[in-house]
């Protein structure tokens, strides 16, 4: 497991518009250029933000990755990936996109 490469990928997907586009078009092909193991690649493909954080990835990167590229994008769904969330629970997010 290398959180360094994971963070490299996620940082690139945060700041590089062309990288984002390549990931959207064919995530598997995009990720092949990095020294990622199968487990790491799967975490990225499945937007497993909890697994990424448990691998040591900075939570600012997981939040940005979710907001920019996940199919759901909704921050309630993001929080549900991290912990149980009550149906009536008020959630507040630091995300920059609403």
């Amino acid at each position: 497991m290398s959180r360094n490469v994971l963070e490299k990928v996620l940082h690139q997907l945060t700041v590089d518009r062309a990288a984002k586009q390549r990931f959207r078009e064919d995530a598997e092909a995009y990720l092949r250029r990095f020294a990622l193991g199968e487990t790491e690649r799967a975490m990225l493909m499945q937007f497993d933000v909890l697994g990424l954080q448990q691998a040591g990835v900075n939570p600012m990167l997981t939040m940005g990755f979710w907001q920019e590229l996940s199919p759901e994008r909704d921050m309630r769904a993001y929080m549900k990936k991290l912990r149980p969330v009550g149906a009536a629970e008020a959630l507040h997010s630091a995300a920059l996109k609403r």
């Binding site: 963070e7 490299k8 940082h11 600012m60 990167l61 507040h92 997010s93 630091a94 920059l96």
Partner: protein, 279 residues
């Protein structure tokens, strides 16, 4: 000799911009008014340059280069993360003084990473827009000097080193151009959890503790806080108190006056506003 004429510790909360109506009206009014008070008091100090100490949010710097402390010596623009009410544009700088601080550092054991042309993020852009820009709009020439400490991405700068960098900025200003009047702003904090399972939590007890250190300029107590303690009680965003420590180091011995504080879960942060008065 140039001189430090004052300091401030303020938040740089982007959620104020992206969800301005989320808190109760009285709360949000107090917070926006606190920025207005800080802006008015900054203008009273008549600075020629304002050093804003912020933290990167894993946008400006990637795994290929993670500077411990960095100064923007030349052209400045931003923010990279523009948002409603915070538009990207050129930010007037203070190239001569910023370059002087970098040179003084390199000659005195502070190996600054240098950005000769820097696009800042909201950590610099928010205090710049809400505090410094009103001075410019009133016709005063004032330059912004961005300083970034490793307070958002590890390896974090040690708290003691952040304080030392602040002292070094003070010494460099003193050895610099005669007509410079400099204010240092520590930007960030206080408690907040960004992107983690605890996001939205605010720890007022921790926030009050840090405000107390700021009011008493208790650098020793700040330096004694372990990263584990800050992460557990102030969150990953709470590591930004390094930016406060740096400004407090630049104004060593200053009395802190808390202008406003509010725990605002809707804005995911304990927002503290402090003016540092030189004795």
């Amino acid at each position: 000799m140039g001189k430090i004429v004052g300091g401030f510790l303020v938040p740089h909360d982007p959620v104020m911009f992206v969800a301005p109506d989320a808190p109760a009206p009285a709360v949000r009014d107090r917070m926006w008014n606190a920025f207005k008070t800080c802006a008015a008091r900054l203008a009273e100090l008549a600075p020629t340059s304002v050093v804003i100490v912020g933290a990167d949010h894993y946008m400006l710097f990637g795994t290929g280069c993670l500077p411990s402390y960095l100064i923007g010596t030349g052209d400045v623009d931003g923010p990279l993360d523009a948002m409603p009410g915070l538009k990207r544009g050129v930010i007037p700088n203070s190239e001569a003084l910023a370059s002087h601080i970098a040179r003084e550092g390199h000659a005195n054991g502070f190996d600054w990473a240098v950005a000769r042309a820097l696009t800042v993020d909201h950590a610099i852009a928010i205090p710049n827009q809400l505090m410094v820009q009103p001075m410019r709009e009133a016709g005063h020439a004032v330059g912004t000097i961005p300083v970034y400490l490793a307070a958002g991405v590890d390896p974090y700068i040690r708290m003691e080193r952040a304080i030392q960098v602040g002292r070094h900025i003070r010494d460099a200003v003193s050895a610099g151009p005669e007509d410079e009047r400099v204010v240092v702003i520590g930007s960030g904090g206080i408690s907040h959890w960004v992107g983690t399972a605890e996001m939205g939590k605010v720890n007022e007890t921790f926030d009050r503790e840090i405000l107390g250190y700021a009011e008493r300029n208790d650098l020793r107590a700040l330096a004694a806080l372990s990263d584990e303690y800050i992460l557990a009680n102030g969150g990953n965003g709470g590591m930004e108190i390094r930016n406060w420590a740096c400004a407090m180091g630049a104004l060593e011995g200053a009395r802190g006056e808390t202008i406003a504080y509010e725990a605002v879960p809707e804005w995911v942060t304990g927002l503290g506003f402090v003016q540092l008065h030189l004795q």
